[in-house]
């Protein structure tokens, strides 16, 4: 599959009730190479005291984790890449 067909995994929406513009990835639930359905929880992030799940944008395979556990990220950052099924 062409590299351009991959989909970025990002936090859907930065929460309103926090001041920080940085978050931390707490747990990945799928390893690199693993697959998930659209909407499955891929990882859990924490921004200040708020915990949020990041969901698979499509059914497919998680090909690359960009921000590992304990890694920091900002609004809009790509946390991982997925290659959708079928393509």
């Amino acid at each position: 599959m062409a590299e351009s067909d991959r989909v970025a995994v990002t936090l859907a929406e930065w929460p309103d009730d926090v001041d920080s513009d940085e978050g931390v990835v707490v747990n990945w639930f799928v390893r690199e190479g693993g697959r998930a359905d659209a909407g499955d929880s891929l990882c859990e992030v924490q921004i200040e005291k708020v915990s949020l799940d990041v969901y698979a944008p499509a059914a497919g395979r998680l090909t690359e984790v960009v921000v590992g556990e304990d890694g920091e990220f900002a609004d809009g950052d790509t946390l991982a890449w997925m290659v959708p099924d079928g393509g």
């Binding site: 747990n27 693993g34 697959r35 915990s51």
Partner: protein, 342 residues
């Protein structure tokens, strides 16, 4: 979805221990309307150690209840509800708080089936957060495994990974007698209390049970047997890894339940290795380490060449980080104890 994809997904999906616990509870609540959860901060907050995340959103306040800080009242209510046919899960926020409700736990929950001549059963689960390693001082850091395993009338289980957490929880809720389910805070996978590598495991989506009284050999070895539970399964595995570099091949047994105790698996291992090292995060005296050593001695005294106990020395768990690290056994302590048996 195809079978192949299903199988693959079961392997691909990993859960933290807290999510695996919650998945089992939610499944049982969907299947049986008599199952409900009560405890301090379990509804809106989702459990201070994430033991009930998302349950209130799905099941509402009638089945996921926040209760006042009155352990005697709500644990007593759970015992009564269980005797009347419901299947309550009641949570002690910290196991250390058991003292104020000791009569409800020790004399009612554990004994009412016996005292009623078998006319009532008490099908409840008492969940409790246990353990230290995060500087929460002497009244919020204990495991108290021995205190709960001591009294007849209740089963006591301790998961070490997400896989165990789900299977033991299904079995606990379906059991017709009281089960104490002790989950270690450090294993839950919480952001502010990071777990070691190990407790986050692949977890099948479908329900499954792990029978009580079935210890699991987490690592096979020929030279020494490390018997442990909870957090210290992971510390023992770390120790075994270092020991293997020194040419010592350690077996690691995860008890998974203290009551019933799977003595057979331990004895079988000792007959192979001859060296017993029991590792516990509870106090040394009158506890799990003494009990395991005595149980093996009862059945296979001749097989024992060496015995070591690694536990909290008989002191309150200190608040200070260096002092707490000193008294809670770590991988180095386990490694040293195993080395002494060789």
């Amino acid at each position: 979805m195809s079978e192949t994809v299903d199988r693959e997904r079961a392997i691909d999906r990993e859960l933290t221990m807290s999510r695996a616990m919650v998945e089992a509870i939610a499944t049982e609540m969907r299947d049986d309307e008599e199952v409900f959860y009560m405890g301090e901060d379990v509804a809106d907050y989702g459990g201070i150690f994430d033991s009930t995340q998302g349950l209130r959103e799905e099941f509402g306040y009638d089945r996921v209840m926040d209760v006042p800080i009155s352990e005697t009242a709500y644990l007593g209510a759970a015992v009564g509800a269980a005797q009347e046919g419901m299947r309550p899960i009641a949570e002690l926020m910290f196991v250390d708080f058991f003292g104020v409700a000791m009569d409800q736990i020790y004399n009612q929950m554990a004994k009412n089936t016996y005292m009623s001549g078998g006319n009532v059963s008490v099908p409840m689960v008492l969940t409790a957060a246990v353990g230290g390693t995060y500087n929460d001082a002497a009244q919020h850091s204990q495991t108290l495994y021995g205190t709960f395993a001591h009294v007849p009338g209740m089963k006591v289980v301790v998961p070490s990974t997400a896989y165990e957490a789900k299977g033991l929880m299904h079995n606990a809720i379906r059991d017709d007698d009281p089960v104490v389910y002790m989950f270690h805070k450090r294993l839950m996978g919480i952001g502010w209390l990071p777990a070691p590598d190990g407790p986050k495991t692949p977890v099948p989506e479908e329900a499954y049970t792990i029978p009580f009284g079935s210890a699991d050999v987490k690592r096979e070895g020929a030279d020494a047997t490390i018997v442990t539970l909870g957090l210290h399964v992971h510390r023992a595995l770390d120790a075994a890894e270092s020991l293997s570099e020194a040419g010592i091949d350690a077996e690691v047994i995860d008890l998974r339940s203290l009551v019933p105790l799977d003595t057979d698996t331990i004895v079988e291992s000792i007959e192979k290795t001859g060296a017993l090292v029991v590792v516990d995060e509870d106090y040394r005296s009158y506890g799990v380490t003494g009990e395991i050593v005595a149980s093996v001695a009862d059945e296979a005294l001749g097989a024992l060449d060496a015995v070591e106990r690694v536990a909290i020395p008989d002191v309150p768990i200190p608040y200070s980080r260096p002092l707490e690290n000193e008294v809670v056994p770590d991988a180095d302590d386990i490694e040293a104890a195993v080395t002494r048996t060789q």
